[in-house]
């Protein structure tokens, strides 16, 4: 059984946000909508200060709280473990967004779809084509670029990362790169105490 997951190598991440841009391009995300973000955090005190970049994305949890609370059945998990949202079924109640400890849900509002990336109300051909997949009022999130995964490719953020800080693969395969990285370098899950069993791991 396949169970897709991702590993973030924090040591390698340089905070360039190329992943963020690639994700926005691949998914035609409107202004203000991000499926992945690279957060920054400063630690230490002057002069011993360091900045760490922490990529974030939907964790496609095994015990996904967003799926459990969805009253319309719009959120579901594929056989390969990717948590999906069917926009045609979403009622926009927001219970998924309130339940997600990682704050990885975004509601699409009308202005985002009509103002355009330049904010003047004129949509570029790229936007006109891409925004057709979104519906005003519904919630959306990362789906690990499921179309690309189905075609045997890596998600756009992984394919773009210039430092290989993002690794995507099958967690159920003990010989996959993600499984080896998690095993060898003690991969840790974000907010593990929430018991959502996220399939995204961080290594340092």
């Amino acid at each position: 059984m396949t169970s897709y997951g991702m590993v973030f190598d924090v040591k390698r991440c340089i905070g360039c946000n190329a992943c963020t841009v690639a994700c926005k391009q691949e998914n035609s995300l409107p202004d203000g909508v991000f499926f992945t973000r690279t957060l920054s955090a400063e630690t230490g005190e002057f002069p011993n200060v360091s900045r760490t970049y922490l990529p974030t994305i939907c964790n496609h949890c095994e015990d996904a709280p967003c799926e459990k609370v969805c009253p319309s059945g719009a959120t579901y998990t594929r056989d390969d473990g990717i948590v999906m949202v069917d926009g045609a079924l979403c009622i926009g109640c927001g219970s998924c967004a309130v339940a997600c400890p990682y704050d990885m849900r975004t509601q699409i509002d009308e202005t985002q779809l009509t103002n355009g990336l330049f904010g003047d109300g004129n949509l570029t051909p790229f936007e006109e084509q891409g925004y057709s997949r979104f519906e005003c009022g519904t919630f959306t999130k990362c789906d690990f670029c499921s179309e690309r995964v189905d075609a045997g490719k890596d998600p756009a953020c992984v394919a773009t990362c210039p430092t290989d800080a993002r690794v995507f693969g099958d967690l159920d395969n003990p010989d996959s790169k993600v499984s080896r990285l998690i095993r060898d370098r003690m991969g840790r899950q974000p907010l593990a105490e929430k018991n959502t069993r996220p399939k995204v791991f961080y290594i340092d």
Binding site: V10, N17, G32, R37, T38, L39, S40, A41, T43, S50, T52, L54, T56, P65, E67, K68, V69, C70, P71, S72, G73, A74, L89, C90, I91, G92, C93, G94, S95, A97, V98, A99, C100, P101, Y102, D103, R105, Q107, I108, E135, C136, G137, T138, F139, R188, P190, L191, E193, K194, N195, T196, Y202, D204
Partner: protein, 305 residues
């Protein structure tokens, strides 16, 4: 919403939608949702209390508040209101779904009960089943919102068993309060003994609500970092006035003093009712606004830096 976002970014430790690691407010359930919850609990609570004392004006008002008020505010909150019916589809896993079924039972059988009372059109054999089905629906409505909130592990302030308890207590308190207020306005409860009992229960419920709020604060203060941030917001930050003076002062202490020490007359009954309802409404709004999500991750959390 815009002001809220500004506060998010200005408050130390809070990051709003920026690319920083830190605390984030829940911003998806706002005032319309809080008002819908308020209407749901008030209407269902009033219905339950009125059914127990067979008080038809209260039964009808309770149905109206939930059936119209709650529905309106839920639809105004919802991103795609035309698909609202789909919320009935997953009662096996979602409290929102279960609650919607509760509303359907409550309003549906409640209306049949009212018609039965007014026009005696319900066959004798169905009177009690209709009564209990509507009561079961109302009981579901009065607690499910608390369960829906406590189900969210993302927001530590809400993720407690006290949420459904507070929902039920506040709902029943609003119910007893409105029965007393309606009685003061001339819609008399038939049985004087029952009215006196409702008055006594009302005082008990004010005390129970006060203790529940105190327990909620205690849990937040000693909870996770997100819950502690919520505690700070409620007691020291921009929500503190609304919470301390509004929810606790006007909502519990003032009505308790009025109900226990002031002579019972029209003015004191309405004053107590007004302060209780204001406190309850503020509680709903403030608890939503104080919902804080823990930092998604920090270097310290993950790598001990």
């Amino acid at each position: 919403m815009a002001n809220m976002s500004l506060k998010n970014t200005l408050r130390p430790g809070f990051v709003g939608r920026t690319f920083k690691s830190g605390y984030r407010f829940q911003r998806y359930w706002d005032t319309p949702m809080a008002t819908a919850f308020f209407c749901g609990e008030t209407g269902a609570g009033l219905f339950i209390v009125s059914m127990l004392v067979n008080f038809l004006p209260g039964i009808m008002l309770g149905l109206l508040i939930t059936g119209v008020g709650k529905t309106f505010f839920h639809l105004s909150h919802m991103g795609v209101p035309s698909r609202a019916w789909r919320a009935i589809l997953r009662p096996d896993r979602s409290w929102i779904s279960r609650g919607l079924w509760g509303i359907i039972f409550f309003v549906g059988f409640g209306v049949i009960h009212v018609f039965g009372q007014l026009f005696a059109i319900v066959p004798e054999a169905f009177v009690m089943p209709v009564y209990w089905l509507s009561m079961a629906g109302a009981m579901m409505v009065v607690v499910y919102q608390g369960f829906a909130m406590s189900h969210s592990t993302a927001i530590s302030l809400w993720s407690t068993g006290l949420m459904p308890v507070s929902s039920m207590l506040y709902g029943l308190l609003a119910g007893t309060t409105l029965v007393m207020a309606l009685n003061a306005f001339g819609f008399a409860v038939a049985d004087e003994n029952q009215l006196a009992l409702v008055g006594t229960v009302q005082i008990g419920l004010v005390v129970a609500v006060f203790l529940t709020i105190f327990s909620l604060l205690h849990g937040a203060k000693n909870g996770s970092k997100g819950a502690q941030q919520s505690y700070e917001l409620l007691t020291k930050d921009f929500l503190s006035r609304a919470f301390i003076y509004g929810v606790i002062g006007i909502g519990t202490i003032l009505p308790l003093l009025i109900l226990m020490f002031a002579p019972v007359n029209f003015i004191t009954t309405i004053a107590a009712a007004g302060s209780i309802m204001v406190g309850f409404c503020l509680f709903r709004v403030v608890i939503f606004k104080a919902g804080v999500m823990d930092p998604i991750l920090t270097p310290a959390d993950i790598f001990g830096r």
